[in-house]
């Protein structure tokens, strides 16, 4: 048995999947050991391949955004006018007449009227961005093997890819079937496409939920003053620096609010999902667009297990994170340990841990931190499938 011969025998065994017949007994024994080691490598491939497939949609959206940003800006070209245009002639110097003045006044008035109206499309685009983590509600309009289409009050139809999603029933337990057309759902996931009319979300959790009030059908408005209302959507950008919410105001209007990320983290920790919670919008320090979502007493029932009357049935657990790995962790709760399944794209917010999003993205350990975990129990395995983790300080 020479090294070269063994190299060749191994290569042939790898190519064919079988040990070459001419291998001697001692060579066979050695090749079996080598192939067993290769089989160990195979055990991790499936996991990595699944992670890669899961990461692809958001990564593709990021790259498309990058490509769009690289395109050269249009160059302004000034053409020499051979003769005055119609507009120029109308307002041009000595030829400005009474009729021209009236036309100008009417034109200015029309423009003022147009810009003072809520601009539906622009507000929609600002509400969500690619890679945002988002929770929103809607009614299932269509369902097939690839996912759902839901009708939302904020954006109309939204496509939800649900191949990797967990479906929860009204009690917060994992169910086998996707929601059916006509059922009200809450969706948590990541925005894949934020273009107007093409909104698409990679769903992580789709839960049957009580239908939230639909509002008066008017387009979104931007809220710039203290107010109270019901949360119908929350979104956090990829870097955890910006957060937005849509609030249904008592008079039926829907308002888009840029909220303080920490206050939204606190609300998520308190509720699991704030959808359906009644909140108060404040302006601490009097700074515009940096408002806080503060739950009002009675905004959710605060029964301690995360269920709140009008929101999605996410269960909320609190405890200390232990045995953290890429696939899960143990949550040491007050009444015992809970095994938690962790998705590759599980959203983790630093909360009051002292860590930053940059730390978390860099792989900082979350072992030993207290945390609130929102998700649902799988009755078949007894495991808890996490949708969101908000960290707290170490005990």
């Amino acid at each position: 048995m020479t090294r070269d011969r063994l190299d060749d025998l191994l290569q042939r065994a790898l190519e064919t999947g079988a040990i070459p017949p001419e291998a001697a007994a001692d060579e066979c024994a050695e090749l079996e050991r080598l192939l067993a080691a290769r089989a160990d490598i195979e055990t991790i491939r499936a996991g990595i391949d699944a992670e890669a497939a899961d990461a692809l949609p958001a990564a593709r959206a990021r790259f498309q955004r990058y490509l769009a940003a690289q395109r050269p800006a249009p160059v302004e070209v000034r053409a020499a006018a051979a003769r005055p245009g119609r507009f120029e002639r109308l307002f041009g110097g000595r030829r400005l007449s009474l009729a021209g003045s009236l036309a100008a006044i009417l034109l200015v008035a029309a423009v003022a009227l147009f810009v003072s109206r809520p601009f539906h499309g622009a507000q929609q685009v600002q509400a969500l961005g690619v890679d945002d983590y988002v929770q929103l509600t809607g009614t299932v309009a269509a369902a097939d093997a690839s996912g759902l289409t839901i009708e939302t009050a904020e954006f109309g139809r939204v496509a939800v890819a649900a191949s990797g999603a967990t479906f929860l029933d009204a009690a917060g337990a994992v169910m086998d079937r996707p929601p059916r057309p006509g059922e009200a759902v809450s969706v948590a996931g990541f925005v894949r496409d934020a273009r107007q009319g093409r909104l698409a979300i990679d769903g992580q959790t789709v839960a049957l939920a009580a239908a939230l009030p639909g509002g008066d059908g008017r387009p979104l408005e931007r809220l710039a003053a203290p107010a109270e209302g019901t949360v119908t959507l929350v979104a956090i950008d990829r870097d955890g620096k910006e957060a937005r919410a849509v609030i249904l105001l008592p008079d039926g209007r829907r308002a888009l609010v840029e909220v303080d990320v920490d206050s939204l983290g606190q609300l998520l920790a308190a509720t699991g999902s704030p959808l359906g919670s009644k909140v108060k919008i404040d302006q601490p320090g009097g700074r515009l667009l940096e408002m806080r979502l503060d739950p009002l007493p009675g905004g959710h029932d605060g029964d301690g297990d995360g269920h709140h009357r009008d929101g999605p049935p996410l269960t909320r657990l609190t405890g200390t994170l232990q045995n953290v790995s890429a696939t899960g962790f143990t949550l040491q709760a007050a009444d015992g340990p809970v095994q938690v399944v962790r998705r590759p794209r599980l959203k983790i917010l630093p909360g009051e841990s002292g860590l930053t999003m940059a730390d978390l993205r860099g792989g900082a350990s979350i072992e030993g931190y207290t945390a609130t975990v929102a998700g649902g129990f799988d009755p078949r395995t007894g495991a808890f499938i996490a949708e969101l983790v908000v960290l707290g300080p170490k005990p």
Binding site: R3, D4, L6, D7, D8, L10, Q11, L14, E30, R33, L34, L35, A36, A37, R38, D40, I41, E42, T43, I44, R45, G47, I48, D49, E51, A52, A53, A55, L56, A58, A59, R60, R62, F63, Q64, Y66, L67, Q70, R71, V324, S325, A326, T327, P344, L360, R361, G362, G363, S365
Partner: protein, 201 residues
Amino acid sequence: MREPGEGPHEPTHEGDQADADLAARAARREPAAWEALFDAHYRRIYAYLRFRLASPDEAEDLASQVFETAYARADAFDYRGVPIEAWLLGIARNLARDVIKKRIRRGPTDDLEAADLAGALADDDPAPAIQLRSDLAGALRCLTEDQREVIRLRFLLDKSVAETAHLMDRSEDAVKNLQRRALAALHRALGGEAYPAGGGA
């Protein structure tokens, strides 16, 4: 200095006209060509990086950076038969090393090759670096970086011996020898019985 697989080489494969056309369009920075490249290669670039880095988020971020870096350098890419994926893998390798070196300067890390780069093997029980069994993660730390690289390329990315030889700037015979020694070292590190030290070599 160029890493193997990153710079121009003489053709090693018979011209794949479609690949060459795609490379030419990519060099002109046609968005559609880059979207096609991304869809064709992202998963394998992610897998390559994921095998090296402890954090899936970081692997995802770095995989995206690979394509952004490649796009920025598009006009410098000289196709001449070099598979595009080899070029992307070369960029991925350099980015991963930069990240790991920075992390080593900051403190302990779970990345698989960090121990080699730091000049010391980790003695503590490492957290699984991938979705690995902890014994496999520990065993991989006992391999040299060359051995891990041949495992990544041959058994994770399914590169042929010839492609691996090209990417590692080695002969095919050297790759065959290296893959045998890598598997033997892995088997031994996993507690394999009756295997001579040195992987039988």
